[in-house]
């Protein structure tokens, strides 16, 4: 399926930085333009035609999310991004001294710092050591689990290593011990289907900007029945207020204080519609080919060290972290940029993982459905030139 018509052209530079932020799809921009140009207004609590239209579009996104993830509308909360969603769970739950949270040692800071903050409340953070290639051993998880474990938070796909994570298996093991599950799906949504009706996950967060949507918005899924209180309050969250006290609404609106990112939320709706239109089947098939090609590029290249899985079967997402012998990661990224390829370099907000790998940082190539085999061929040539400098 030719998806190029849905995205801005990559004429001068091939965009290989989708793990940081994907390209924004043209239908998303069109939908947001439509809001701003045709019915720009605040949502809810209004009577005029514009607010009715904007509220309808805004509310419609919850329906789309529910359908997309096989969940209920009321289980989704509009947040700024995946990071806010995870923080919301850490801040919005009651914790007791002695409670335990398990995280892996390959997490993005956004799925580590919120839990480390809980240490102030006496919560113990236990670290599940992943393998060097990013795979997670379920048996190691079993060892860490106990009745004190209140939550197991892990990424569906590492933003550095891209290893395949057995989400369902790990979640089931943790659930058996009574732990709740938080899934950081930032690198997963938009690449692979996520059936929350089947997956034993209690919380899931993702950002719109990594799956063709706009920046500044994301969604937090919280399963019905999983205890969660608003982590901040304000306009739009209350049923009644006096100067002495207030009572919050019962539905999800209690979590969404103040005017939300209306255009962006509507844009997110357009993004998941586009994903549905392209179809996860087509996307996965295309990305599988890209992954295979990229792996052969890295494995054939001299002076290049690839981190993470070396086979397509073990790859969970189309991202590749590497270094070129004797060259600084930032230098490699700048050189490749000059040669027409936009890649990210640094620790990718995963300093513990960088330390585990024994590096200051890596260069990361991350692909999406709009990348092509031809781009990878060009990348192979460019990487070859840079690698010969070593």
């Amino acid at each position: 399926m030719d998806v190029s018509k849905f995205f801005p052209p990559q004429e001068k530079v091939a965009y290989f930085d989708s793990a940081a932020s994907s390209l924004t799809a043209l239908p998303v921009l069109k939908k947001m333009d439509e809001y701003y140009l045709q019915y720009r207004s605040n949502v809810h609590r209004g009577a005029h035609r514009f607010t009715r239209k904007s509220s309808e579009e805004y509310e419609g996104v919850y329906k789309k999310l529910a359908k997309f993830f096989h969940a209920k509308e009321s289980e989704f909360i509009s947040v700024r991004n995946c990071t806010e969603g995870i923080n919301g769970v850490a801040l919005g739950r009651e914790w007791k001294e002695g409670d335990e949270v398990i995280v892996t040692d390959i997490e993005h800071h956004s799925n580590l710092l919120p839990w480390l903050q809980l240490k102030k409340k006496g919560v113990k953070v236990r670290v599940l050591e992943a393998e060097m290639d990013g795979s997670v051993d379920a048996e190691k998880l079993r060892v860490l689990l106990s009745k004190k474990t209140k939550l197991f938070a892990f990424s569906a796909c590492s933003n550095v290593l891209g290893a395949k994570v057995p989400v369902e298996k790990l979640a089931k093991i943790a659930k058996e011990e009574g732990a709740l599950i938080l899934l950081d799906a930032a690198q997963y949504v938009g690449h692979h289907p996520l059936d929350l009706g089947r997956m034993p996950v209690d919380f899931m967060a993702f950002s719109a900007h990594k799956c063709f949507g706009p920046t500044g918005v994301g969604a937090l899924f919280h399963r019905e029945g999983a205890q969660l209180e608003p982590w901040f309050v304000g306009g739009g969250t209350v049923r009644n207020v006096s100067t002495e006290e207030f009572s919050l609404l019962e539905n999800r609106e209690r979590f969404e204080a103040g005017t939300p990112a209306i255009a962006e939320w509507i844009g997110l709706g357009a993004a998941i519609e586009l994903i549905s239109q392209i179809g996860y089947g087509n996307m996965e098939a295309h990305e599988k080919k890209l992954v295979g090609k990229m792996l052969s590029v890295f494995l054939d290249a001299e002076n290049v060290k690839l981190y993470g899985p070396k086979s397509a079967e073990e790859k969970g997402c189309a991202l590749f972290s590497f270094n070129v012998k004797s060259l600084a990661h930032h230098e490699v990224a700048v050189m490749l940029d000059n040669l027409g390829f936009a890649l990210r370099s640094g620790h990718h907000c995963a300093i513990p993982l960088a330390k585990k790998l024994g590096v200051e940082g890596t260069v990361r190539a991350s692909l999406h459905v709009y990348n092509t085999q031809e781009q990878i061929q060009g990348f192979e040539e460019a990487l070859g030139k840079v690698a010969k400098l070593a």
């Binding site: 930032h330 700048v334 050189m335 000059n338 040669l339 030139k385 400098l389």
Partner: protein, 302 residues
């Protein structure tokens, strides 16, 4: 890290003309301050500059890119030192120009990098007519030189001029004096030279003046005595108003022609200001030099 020093100067200069370079200059400044206070530079500007340069080179010559990449630290230190040396000498030159009217310093005999011939042009001056000053040689082509015995550029040209004249007997040299006001003894020296001419020894005295920089009245007499001039006549000549008038005639001729520095040469109807090499004179003789604005080092007249 050393690259940040160069980057600061370069981007600050470019920032005058374009806002995009001001942010880079700011980064470079931050890096320099951090380096000066023994803190690590965090901007990564030096890495970006290096990588950008290497990437540009990669497209042209991968082997050169590799060599430069492998020795980048040494090269960047060398370029930084050269940069600061260049800045220092530029500052000295600017000071010399302000203080002495030339970029090479008061007593320097060095040729300036600017050269009228090399730069493809000669100064546009009004013509002067030969047959007034003392002449060396009997060639039918006359090279007229306006010179000052106290000008280091006039002096510096002497060996090349001599070599040129030896190689070209068809050229004769006519010397016109043009004392530079800033050189306190130049007027007296010019008079002394004319007084040597009266006794038929202008060129011997001319050579003596260029070989001995002490042009005090006492030493002018000593030099005159040394080449065998009769001193009573010499002294009388130097004191005579007619001798001073003769110097003024040459001065006026030079100023009327628009000559602004010494040495200035005329040959084949073309004028050249500033010190010249043998090849410059050769070009002038062959008629390969065109009139045009020339940037030269010379002793400037007032």
């Amino acid at each position: 890290m050393v690259l940040c020093f160069i980057a600061l100067f370069v981007f600050a200069f470019l920032g005058i003309f374009s806002a995009k370079y001001r942010a880079l200059a700011g980064e470079a400044f931050d890096c320099v301050i951090r380096t000066a206070t023994l803190r690590p530079c965090q901007s990564g500007l030096d890495e970006r500059i290096k990588a950008t340069l290497i990437a540009k080179l990669l497209e042209k010559s991968p082997s050169s890119a590799r060599i430069i990449n492998n020795h980048f630290q040494v090269l960047s230190v060398a370029f930084t030192l050269l940069f600061f040396a260049s800045m220092f000498y530029s500052a000295v030159s600017v000071y010399n120009y302000w203080a002495y009217g030339n970029c090479n310093g008061q007593e320097s005999g060095a040729f300036c990098v600017f050269d009228a011939v090399a730069n493809g042009g000669a100064a546009q001056l009004k013509p002067v007519f030969p047959g007034v000053g003392p002449v060396l040689g009997s060639g039918n082509v006359t090279l007229v030189e306006f010179g000052c015995f106290d000008c280091q550029y006039t002096k510096a040209t002497e060996p090349y001029l001599h070599e040129f004249l030896l190689a070209h007997p068809e050229v004769s040299l006519e010397f016109r004096v043009l004392p530079i006001t800033e050189h306190n003894e130049s007027f007296n020296t010019a008079k002394a030279a004319f007084c040597a001419e009266e006794q038929g020894k202008f060129w011997e005295y001319h050579d003596a003046l260029f070989s001995d920089a002490d042009h005090s009245s006492e030493n002018l007499r000593k030099m005159a005595q040394k080449i065998g001039l009769e001193l009573v006549n010499f002294d009388g000549c130097v004191q005579a108003e007619s001798t001073a008038e003769r110097v003024r005639v040459d001065e006026k001729a030079g100023h009327d022609a628009g000559i602004y520095g010494t040495p200035t040469f005329y040959l084949n109807g073309v004028s050249l200001v500033g010190p010249q090499s043998v090849s410059d004179f050769e070009s002038l003789l062959k008629g390969n030099v065109q009139h045009g604005p020339g940037q030269v080092s010379s002793c400037t007249t007032h």
